[in-house]
């Protein structure tokens, strides 16, 4: 029996507003509220709400026999909360059925796994907490931004306590191996790997509504035939796609929803297939091998590497300048700064700077607010310049406040020490004077001594 693993990625960035260089130092607000709200509302109406409704219907109809997995970035959750709470509510209803699994991500949908282990784990933790508080279950399987994976990232994720992780079944990773089995991380074999079936996923994600495709139109029957055609001993076919595929990338009138419903019904009607979700699959199946991925891979474009985000000088400069601030950020607990820090890390900002837009126009243009990658870079760097300025100012003032406190403490310490010395001296001399005699005699030598030390202290303070 082959397992079908359906996983949907949900993410939308906080798009930056047009931030000119003369805004640096004068405006601390970076986001295009209007664009963000309208994009979220538009996609909610075209995709999230109708697609969630469809999934709920299918689950109500087929019960345990239909299962899907999601990962929703923290940034997307933030935006649903702000602009479309009904979307959040519909995801909650899906969660209540227990047939939907929510995977862990980086909160900011960032590429931090490539550069900073500490920040990476804190973002993952933050996201897991958010998912648990929203949907009641702590994620056991991790899915990195854009399916970025390498041996090291996998081992770091295992170190955070995750049991499984998703990755791209890229040809340069797999070689002769098939993505349709369970694998393990090469450093830590406890971490199970589910690999995306590139061809079958892209048939739906990119080619479904492309009329120039020789297989157009794609029917559910035809698609299931392809699933059957895969190796006889194949264990799991991982179909990982962006959720926006349903209704947004392929509009409703392309028949994508009908396709999806029919596909589900056919699969459930056949004994040779079943639906499952990552956390169950990694327990049910035995891994067949380890996978070596020394250099990070992703699910993007033809190359399945990082070139869409970190492929040119502009992207690298922006990325390095951003993460150079990590140390400073860790010194502050200012809420506004931390929010911006998270929003600025979102991978989309770097994606917009890709010069690959000129060759791979279609995919790179989804809700891209910029006319050119150069435009995207200038805007981002202006924002980053202002953010850096604010951060330095804040940390600077926090540090100077700390210095002030330290100096004050030091002065107090010195004062205490001089007083202590005085007391010691007095105690040394006291037994000589204090005898069986009365208290009156004792007062005389004590008084001038106290006055003296008092004067000394005030003198010092001046």
């Amino acid at each position: 029996m082959k397992t079908i693993c359906l996983y949907f990625q949900v993410h939308q960035p906080f798009r930056l507003r047009r931030y000119r260089f003369f805004d640096i130092g004068t405006s601390e607000y970076y986001y295009d509220d209007y664009a963000n709200e309208s994009v979220i509302k538009k996609i909610a109406a075209k995709c999230y709400l109708p697609a969630n409704k469809l999934l709920l219907e299918l689950i109500e109809k087929f019960g345990d026999r239909f299962k899907v997995a999601f990962s929703i970035s923290g940034i997307a959750l933030d935006q649903f909360e702000l602009y479309a709470p009904e979307v959040l509510e519909s995801f909650r209803r899906l969660a209540d059925t227990k047939n939907v699994e929510f995977l862990a991500e980086t909160y900011s949908h960032s590429l931090v796994s490539l550069t900073d282990a500490g920040e990476f784990s804190s973002q993952v933790e933050r996201h897991s907490e958010r998912i648990e508080s929203l949907f009641g279950v702590k994620p056991k399987v991790f899915r990195n931004t854009e399916l970025v994976y390498s041996d090291e990232i996998g081992s770091a994720i295992a170190g955070m306590g995750f049991e499984g992780m998703l990755s791209e079944g890229a040809r340069h990773i797999l070689g002769w191996k098939s993505p349709n089995y369970l694998y393990t991380n090469s450093i830590n074999p406890d971490l199970r790997l589910l690999l995306r079936n590139t061809g079958l996923s892209d048939d739906i994600a990119f080619r479904f509504s492309r009329r120039s495709w020789d297989q157009w139109p794609l029917t559910a029957e035809k698609y299931v035939k392809w699933l059957k055609k895969s190796g006889r001993n194949d264990k799991v076919i991982n179909i990982f796609i962006e959720y926006e595929t349903l209704g947004d990338h392929h509009p409703a009138d392309s028949g994508i929803f009908e396709f999806f419903r029919a596909f589900t019904e056919i699969i459930i009607g056949k004994n040779e297939f079943k639906f499952s979700v990552p956390s169950l699959i990694i327990q049910e199946l035995q891994p067949v091998d380890t996978i070596d991925v020394p250099y990070p891979a992703s699910w993007a474009d033809e190359e399945k590497d990082l070139s869409a985000w970190l492929g040119n000088d502009m992207q690298n400069e922006a990325f390095n300048k951003l993460y150079a601030l990590r140390e400073l950020v860790s010194k502050t607990s200012d809420n506004k700064i931390l929010t911006d820090w998270h929003f600025l890390q979102t991978s989309d900002h770097f994606y917009y700077m890709s010069t690959k837009v000129f060759t791979e126009q279609e995919v790179h243009k989804h809700y891209n607010p910029y006319e050119s990658p150069y435009d995207a870079f200038i805007n981002y760097m202006n924002v980053l310049s202002d953010f850096t300025r604010r951060l330095k100012k804040l940390v600077g003032s926090e540090e100077s406040r700390m210095l002030q406190v330290e100096r004050l403490l030091k002065e107090k310490d010195e004062l205490i020490q001089t007083l202590q010395k005085r007391i010691d001296q007095l105690q040394e001399t006291a037994p000589v004077m204090v005898g069986p005699v009365g208290v009156e005699e004792n007062e005389e030598p004590g008084k001038p001594a106290l006055k003296e030390s008092g004067k000394k202290v005030t003198g010092k303070q001046n």
Binding site: R20, F21, N312, D313, M314, E317, T355, I378, S385
Partner: protein
Amino acid sequence: MFGWEFPPHISGGLGTACYGLTKGMSHIPGLDVIFVVPKMWGDEDQSTIRLLAAENFPVRRKYVEMQGFLKEMTFLEIHSRIMPYMSPEEFAKTRKKSRTGTSVYFNTDHIGKFKFSGTYGPDLFQEIANYSLIARVIAEDHPFDIIHAHDWLAYPAGIAAKEASGKPLVIHVHATDFDRSGGSVNPAVFEIERRGMEIADKIIAVSNLTRKTIIEKYGIDPCKVVTVYNAVDPAGDQDGINFSKPLNGKIVTFLGRITLQKGPEYFIEAANKVLRKLSDVHFVMAGSGDMFPRMIKHAASLGITDRFHFTGFLKQRDVNQMYRMSDLYVMPSISEPFGISPLEAMQSNVPVIISHQSGVSEILKHAIKIDFWDIDAMADAIYGILQYNALSRMFKKLGKTEVENLKWENSALHVKEIYDEVLSQ
């Protein structure tokens, strides 16, 4: 082929384009070009005399072998006084000057508006008429298959040649009067342009922007108008490799005729915004034109002339020098049919900002494009390129390759296809 200027005497994009195109054509087997160009003789006094005794227009035939041309080209130079980029008014002024013995500025770049307020000089139109007369003679004397006329001064010549020979006419629109005048079109020029477009069998536009103007403003059938983009000649050896900048800090350059069409005031406004934020940067406005004095006054009134410089007219050698000095080139043209200069800047490893209102923006990817009126966007782009080094690095790397792929051979092939199509009709 009827043109109005050809190297070494070129004063603008048209001469460069004619040169590049014919050079590209020389690489096509079975295609021979006779280039007819009106030319002033070198000695002004003499020419004045000859012109006054203008019964016979002498035609000088030359067979020129030019560098980079694969074959010899026939050159016909007509003795005429037509000067490109000169309004009828300017033309009259220049002629008067030359009669009185002062020198004629061949290179004066004044284009200006064609203000026909009763004082226009009829001479220019007379010259155009003369040019077309000779064109008729040439058409009768020389064997050829197709006539190709560049821009409005040459249209009447093209028409005359067509009438004399019955051969098809292709006109090449490098600019229209809508571009030159910034909206206030000279009706007489418009009429010449419209007539040329109507009689032509095919019209070549240098960009879709120009094609649109031809269709919309001149009412020409869209099927008749084809876009063929210009290209750029490969950069030759640059002298003075160990060239050092005379100024400290970065240099942002505007280079072109200082006329309404080129949008110089937007450049000054954007410079003003940038200078308020950055201290270590200089702006240069190179070129001359009718708006020159106004621009100086404008910069002075903003109080930025300590870091905003004017060079006046630059010779080709100085132009190359200027490019090499620059860290950024800005072309904020209000209406630029094509615009070769950004390509030249990119050849010199200079990043460019160009306006959407230029034909060249239709083909360039590795340039920042802004609307000419959007001073904020322009200032922001300037600031970005100066401040964030990765940008310049990217532009230098990708821009140069991009420009190197724009070859005149390809444009020439495209033109040849149009010829074939016209001849087969």
